[in-house]
């Protein structure tokens, strides 16, 4: 049956309500099993040896003493993970990041690993591995790495995207460019121009659950991986590629996941655990320590961004330009390109140009973090927009409304927009009571907008109807924040049965077709599309079964309110059949009843949000407290509003942490100084007020219920919203994120000195 994903307005009974989540009891009783909560018979403990140097050639590794230690069952190095990338640079980078080959590229880069009978033997074995390093000059700062005299990390990196192609290698992997119009002509028409450099520091997703897995390679070529991941199917593919396993013989089971935010879309230690198990012939459990998580798993880019925006006195932006330099860790990435695409996406601009530079540095390989690359760009652009509005004497919201993109605007990254939500979120902000609430002493209010692409992608769902008419749906998108509740609601809605009659589970890779990861805000969007499609297929089966039971034509049966109903004058006296009625007879009418769906959920639609933030700054210490915060974002249709609010609040607070205190601090030796929650300061409960939310519902035309992804956009505006609020509180512009107390106090001192 062809599936029609287009939006149809209808009265909804389940979607939009707030029932209890199906995994709630497991999670409040400690019974839910996360990555580290699984064990196998005969399991060994795996641990990884990591480079203490930011950049060093690996001259020699001697594992003989470790291998000789009683209780050690396997030691692996890069030699045990041979390069099978066939020249694919991205695959090679993943492999080299899991286990360094010729060079350690950052402090914390894995160089060897052991599997031993317990943790203390494993710890002792790590100390017995001898690694001889030749320490090389390192570079961690993005601007320094671009300089002509910077140490070149990789002699094979020649900047792509520039002409003529350079003849010497550098740390600049790629240049990308977007835009339209003529910015020089646009600036010539401007009455006022703001031109600034902005910097943001590297942050970490900060999920509370460290990476953890149990790997088991059997002698018959089959293998199992229990792991906390946002994408079991992707992990299966990547691990199979790196280890040379048959994809279908590797079964990956995603545990409950203790937060990911993009950081668990990439493999880290999982291929190493599999290699250890293959070599030891026993299952291996590998759990990263918190220090390893910070040193060796997914940080964001650190950035340096130049922005120039010009406007007429009436508030019309005449031209906008940005140059974005993003670190990608030691391997080429496309993070600056994402930043360049998203930079000016909120605005309708006649002349716009953005250039992105990808820069390799001796820091961990950059990983996706919630709307990756967009928050830094938004900080720079929304700070400059605010300053420009201030300079021409216009209200910050009015200025943005005047220049906001709308249906038919040509986006800064190329295509023309359809109906979009930036205007409505700005109008909602303008009329929100927060916007006109009085401010106290040393308080300031800031606002900012944010944009993010949402994704759909490959999706597969199985729906099975039990003999009593209750329903299970098996989905392949990992539930990171309550999606089993929303997918149960969608299924109940489509079948016309109570929410309580539906149980959603996340299936393993051997039980279901391929699914893309839970990333790009796609979990609920895409799996709900497949759930609706599967439910429609099951309804078709149930209509056929009802036809058999009644012995009438299936064409005379409609599905309405969870029942098969016979239509037409001749069938009036037939009482409608419920799902339970039909399921009870399934054995006699053709066997089990199921609905299946595999599809590509495309057309997710872009997403916009506007945030308002009040801060109070102690002008003597630079201490900043967020005292009020409001998130306004379009959800298309909020399936379970509690968890939509949760996404808005959680993203906003991650952004607040990034804005105020979170940053990687490197020493002169290139080693990370703060690999722990003590000095990598994510927001704590007492740092925050309640986070107010306003959900707008502008239906997505490409989803039957109008649903849009909601997960990521909320982290985009806060950096700028907080920085703008600080600037308004103490009347000094802040150009460097995080706006930590020392930076604020230094800025105030500089201003006082004139």
């Amino acid at each position: 049956m062809t599936f029609d994903p287009s939006y149809k307005e209808q009265g909804l009974k389940s979607v939009g309500t707030r029932p209890l989540r199906p995994d709630g009891v497991d999670k409040v009783t400690g019974r839910a099993r996360y990555g580290a909560d699984f064990n196998m018979p005969g399991q060994l403990v795996g641990r990884v040896l990591r480079s203490p140097h930011a950049h060093a050639r690996i001259v020699r590794i001697d594992t003989s003493q470790a291998e000789a230690l009683k209780g050690v069952k396997a030691v692996v190095t890069a030699a045990d993970l041979p390069d099978q990338s066939n020249g694919d640079a991205a695959t090679f980078a993943v492999l080299d990041n899991c286990m360094a080959r010729k060079k350690a590229m950052y402090d914390g880069h894995a160089v060897a690993a052991v599997a031993a009978i317990d943790a203390s033997v494993a710890k002792a074995a790590l100390k017995l591995i001898v690694v001889e390093y030749e320490v090389l000059p390192h570079v961690v700062d993005v601007d320094v790495a671009m300089a002509a005299d910077a140490p070149v990390l990789d002699e094979t990196v020649f900047t792509t995207g520039v002409e003529p192609a350079p003849k010497t290698p550098s740390n600049v992997a790629n240049r990308s460019e977007f835009g339209h119009g003529d910015v020089e002509a646009g600036f010539a028409k401007a009455d006022m121009i703001v031109e600034r450099n902005y910097k943001t520091e590297q942050t970490h997703q900060g999920y509370i659950e460290p990476h953890a897995c149990v790997a088991n390679c059997n002698s018959d070529g089959t293998a199992d991986l229990w792991v906390c991941t946002q994408g079991p199917f992707v992990y299966r593919q990547v691990c199979a590629d790196l280890l040379g396993l048959d994809v279908s013989k590797l079964r990956v089971t995603s545990s409950e996941i203790g937060g990911g935010f993009g950081g668990k879309t990439h493999v880290w230690a999982e291929p190493v655990a599999l290699a250890l198990s293959r070599k030891a012939g026993r299952p291996v459990k590998l759990v990263m320590t918190r220090e390893e998580v910070f040193r060796a798993s997914g940080p964001t880019s650190a950035t340096s961004i130049d922005v120039k925006i010009g406007a007429k006195k009436d508030g019309t932006i005449t031209a906008a330009e940005a140059t974005l330099r993003y670190t990608s860790g030691p391997y080429a990435g496309m993070w600056a390109e994402l930043g360049a695409m998203t930079s000016f996406a909120c605005y309708d601009l006649e002349n716009v140009k953005t250039v992105g530079w990808e820069v390799v540095v001796n820091r961990p390989k950059v990983a996706a973090y919630r709307a990756p690359s967009a928050p830094m760009a938004a900080f720079a652009i929304e700070s400059a927009v605010d300053e420009l509005a201030h300079k021409i004497g216009m209200d910050a919201v009015d200025f943005r409304i005047k220049n906001a993109a709308s249906d038919g605007s040509k986006s800064s990254y190329g295509p023309v927009y359809g109906p979009i939500g930036i205007g409505p979120t700005l109008e909602a902000a303008k009329s929100h009571p927060h916007m006109s609430a009085p401010l106290g002493e040393n308080q300031g209010r800031g606002m900012a907008c944010g944009f993010w692409f949402n994704f759909g992608g490959q999706t597969c769902v199985d729906l099975n109807i039990g003999a009593d008419g209750t329903v299970t749906i098996a989905v392949g998108t990992v539930d990171v924040g309550g999606s089993r509740a929303s997918l149960s609601l969608i299924t109940a809605e489509e079948l016309g049965i109570p929410y309580e009659n539906v149980k959603a589970i996340v299936a393993d890779t051997s039980s279901l077709g391929y699914n893309d990861m839970t990333d790009g805000s796609r979990g609920t969007f895409s799996s709900s599309m497949a759930a609706i499609s599967a439910a429609r297929n099951a309804i078709q089966v149930m209509r056929e079964r009802a036809a058999t039971m009644w012995d009438i034509s299936v064409d005379d049966i409609i599905w309405e309110d969870g029942h098969a109903k016979a239509v037409g004058a001749t069938h009036d006296n037939l009482a409608p059949l419920s799902v339970a009625d039909i399921a009870a007879e399934a054995g006699n009418t053709g066997g089990p009843i199921a609905g299946h769906s595999e599809l590509v959920a495309d057309g997710a639609g872009v997403s916009f949000g506007t945030h308002i933030c009040d801060v109070e700054v102690d002008p003597e210490t630079g201490s900043t407290r967020v005292v009020r915060y409001t998130v306004i974002q379009d959800a298309g249709k909020a399936v379970h509003p509690d968890y939509v609010e949760g996404q808005y609040q959680g993203g906003a607070v991650q952004g607040i942490g990034w804005a105020l205190n979170e940053e990687y601090v490197y020493g002169a030796d290139g080693r990370l100084q703060n690999p722990g929650f003590l000095d990598y300061r994510i927001p704590v409960c007492s740092d925050l007020p309640m986070i107010d939310t306003q959900i707008l519902e502008i239906p997505n035309p490409n989803h039957p219920y109008g649903v849009r992804g909601v997960g990521e956009t909320s982290i985009v505006p806060p950096l700028a919203a907080v920085a703008n609020a600080v600037s308004n509180a103490v009347d000094v512009r802040m150009f460097h994120i995080p706006v930590s107390p020392p930076r604020i106090l230094a800025a105030l001192n500089a201003q006082a000195k004139g």
């Binding site: 709630g24 839910a32 909560d37 509370i208 203790g258 929650f677 409960c685 007492s686 925050l688």
Partner: protein, 160 residues
């Protein structure tokens, strides 16, 4: 390494176990007793995911040696509900959607239980500072604070 024999009380039951001198209470609970509700988020007392209650005070079980629990009374998340009846805090956490990924939830519940035992009617500020040692990266804390307020109100009501 010589093992140490420890007799203690966990969730009201007498429990005896052997552990090494350097094993933490968290190691013992998770690896020796199968009580995996306490989570290791950091191992250094910075995240609170391993919170348990020892002799009435909430502690990070990663900062307690297993050997130290001799003769003590330990409460873990596994003992929070009475049979099938959830503790009001547990029920309110689900009702208020106070968890997303849920990894921090057991620790929050143990800390909140200790809070309400000491302060049955806490202000929002008291709740926020008491729970500052429990990190949550998903929720922004809003719904957690509301759930604790809701449970406190219900428990005060239940007492009168």
């Amino acid at each position: 390494m010589t093992s140490i024999a420890v007799s203690t009380t966990i969730n009201g039951d007498d429990v005896e176990f052997l552990c090494n001198a350097d094993e933490t209470l968290l190691d013992v609970l998770r690896n020796r007793l199968g009580l995996m509700g306490a989570k290791e988020g950091c191992g250094t007392g910075d995240c609170g995911a391993c919170s348990t209650i020892m002799d009435g005070r909430v502690v990070c079980s990663c900062l307690v040696l297993g050997a130290e629990t001799q003769g003590r009374e330990i409460e873990t998340i596994e003992g929070m509900s009475e049979g099938q009846d959830l503790h009001p805090l547990q029920a309110k956490f689900i009702e208020h959607a106070a968890l997303q990924c849920g990894i921090c939830t057991p620790g929050f519940l143990m800390a909140a239980k200790a809070l309400l035992a000491a302060h049955p009617d806490p202000s929002e500020e008291e709740i926020r500072f008491w729970l500052a040692g429990n990190l949550c990266r998903c929720t922004g804390y809003d719904k957690i604070v509301r759930a604790v307020q809701g449970a406190a109100a219900e428990m005060r009501g239940a007492k009168t």
